[in-house]
């Protein structure tokens, strides 16, 4: 397929890897912020094509992974109410709360459904007026326009039986939190291309400036990621720290104005708790006042904050980029995709799950 196959071409990838090797004169540590990029890096073995010294650290880029336990608990509580159908994206069903996940709730009799698009949940609400349809809305800025449209449509249609449990998160505040961490050692960022198709690139400029880090807005195919790394290394080698756009075929400087307009109407910016990172100011989206009637927290009670994770799990350090999955004593032994301790092992976008799927300890750390 066009815009896919040529970006997976082995020769092009090899050329870029060679160019990176010729450009880098010293070690650099680069964080990619999107789970989709983490997945591609491990699936295609992009980290193994890089020269010694160029290290990729996987950031808090999986929206499912950073959803707090409290929200999962609330979703389960709502799903188990009579006459409620809870809808969410597939990955969310396996994220553990403090008492199991949504799939377990389903097996106990809760009506839990996977939807591909949030509008499917709105359609369900229209089709089943006697049931409460609750959409568990998670995601980054990429997913926010679609979820905003669900609320927008439900309000226009006057669907009183539709509501959203919203745990949306925003990428730039999380990047700041990672850069402000005391042990931070990140030299540059690959920003998430899909997020930027919606938001544009301007909001990264103050971050690049304040922290002196290059930020390269990067796509998701191997050639994109390698070019993103190359552009980042080129800036680092020449002492620059600006926002560059590798993914210009999809990302405009101002993002998608139409989408941002609807997001602006439907959502307001709030402080959010991130799994592994804690509370981050202005890092999330909740439904705006005009949409309060569609807020599942207003209808079924507010989410109560309490964060409990298994003591052996280092997913927090992994989400902050401080540790690698293979450095966890539980990795692949007590913690596997079938029996996940932490959320980074749950979602296929999660760093631990990606390592477990494509690498094991013996392939994990050393590069060629």
């Amino acid at each position: 397929m066009r815009f896919r196959d040529e970006y997976r071409d082995a020769d092009t990838a090899r050329k870029l890897a060679d160019t990176i090797a010729r450009t880098a004169t010293r070690p650099w540590t680069i964080m990619e912020v999107c789970g989709g990029q983490t997945h591609a890096i491990l699936r295609f073995g992009i980290d193994q094509m890089l020269p010694d010294g160029i290290e990729l650290i996987h950031g808090p880029g999986c929206p499912v992974c950073v959803t707090p336990v409290d929200f999962v608990d609330k979703a389960i509580e709502i799903a188990e109410l009579p006459a409620v159908t809870l809808c969410s994206f597939g990955d969310m069903l396996r994220v553990p709360g403090s008492r199991g996940d949504l799939l377990r709730a389903k097996s106990r009799g809760a009506d839990v459904r996977v939807v591909y698009s949030p509008l499917d949940a709105v359609d369900l609400a229209a089709a089943y007026p006697d049931r409460e349809i609750v959409f568990f809305a998670v995601g980054f800025e990429t997913t926010a326009p679609a979820n905003a449209m669900a609320a927008y449509r439900a309000r226009r249609a006057g669907l009183a039986n539709f509501s959203m449990l919203t745990s949306h998160v925003l990428v730039p505040p999380a990047m700041r939190a990672v850069l402000e961490a005391p042990d931070g050692r990140i030299d540059g960022f690959l920003a998430a291309g899909h997020v930027c198709t919606v938001m544009g690139t301007r909001e990264y400029e103050p971050i690049a400036h304040a922290f002196g880090v290059p930020i390269v807005v990067t796509g998701f195919e191997p050639v994109d990621i390698l070019e993103g790394i190359y552009l980042c290394v080129r800036q680092l080698e020449s002492g620059r720290n600006v926002v560059e756009n590798q993914y210009a075929r999809a990302v405009r400087t101002d993002g998608n104005g139409t989408a941002r307009a609807i997001m602006g109407e439907v959502f307001r910016v709030v402080t959010r708790n991130w799994r592994g990172l804690g509370d981050i100011a202005d890092s999330g989206l909740a439904l705006a006042g005009a949409y309060a009637a569609f807020d599942a927290e207003n209808r079924f009670g507010a989410v109560v904050s309490k964060d409990a994770i298994d003591a052996a799990c280092i997913s927090g350090a992994i989400l902050r980029g401080e540790s690698r999955p293979t450095e966890c004593p539980a990795f692949g032994t007590r913690c596997t995709p079938d029996q996940p301790l932490g959320v980074t092992m749950v979602s296929s976008e999660g760093a631990c799950a990606a390592y477990h799927r494509y690498r094991r300890a013996d392939l994990g750390t050393p590069r060629q």
Binding site: M1, R2, F3, R4, E6, T12, K15, L16, T19, F89, Y116, S117, P118, L119, D120, T142, T143, P145, A146, M149, R153, H194, T197, V198, V223, E227, Q246, A248, R249, A250, V251, R252, N256, T258, A259, I262
Partner: protein, 66 residues
């Protein structure tokens, strides 16, 4: 709300086009959870391959020089 049939390289599917009012028939779009969120700029898409060709030419030139 505007929708359109999008070809994903062998299968087509109806996609919501509310966020790409500029999209016309024949355009390539980026789709996420059932919504097109960006129209692909074809000139930009080719840029990297031109750029690599330049690097190649440059490397070739260097190799040829004694």
């Amino acid at each position: 709300m505007r929708t359109g049939r999008v070809d994903f390289g062998g299968v087509t599917k109806i996609v919501n086009l509310a966020y790409v009012p500029e999209a016309a028939i024949g355009d390539h779009v980026l789709v996420h959870v059932g919504f097109a969120i960006s129209v692909i700029d074809e000139a930009e898409a080719d840029r990297i391959f031109h750029h690599l060709q330049e690097i190649d030419d440059l490397a070739g030139g260097e190799a040829a020089a004694p």
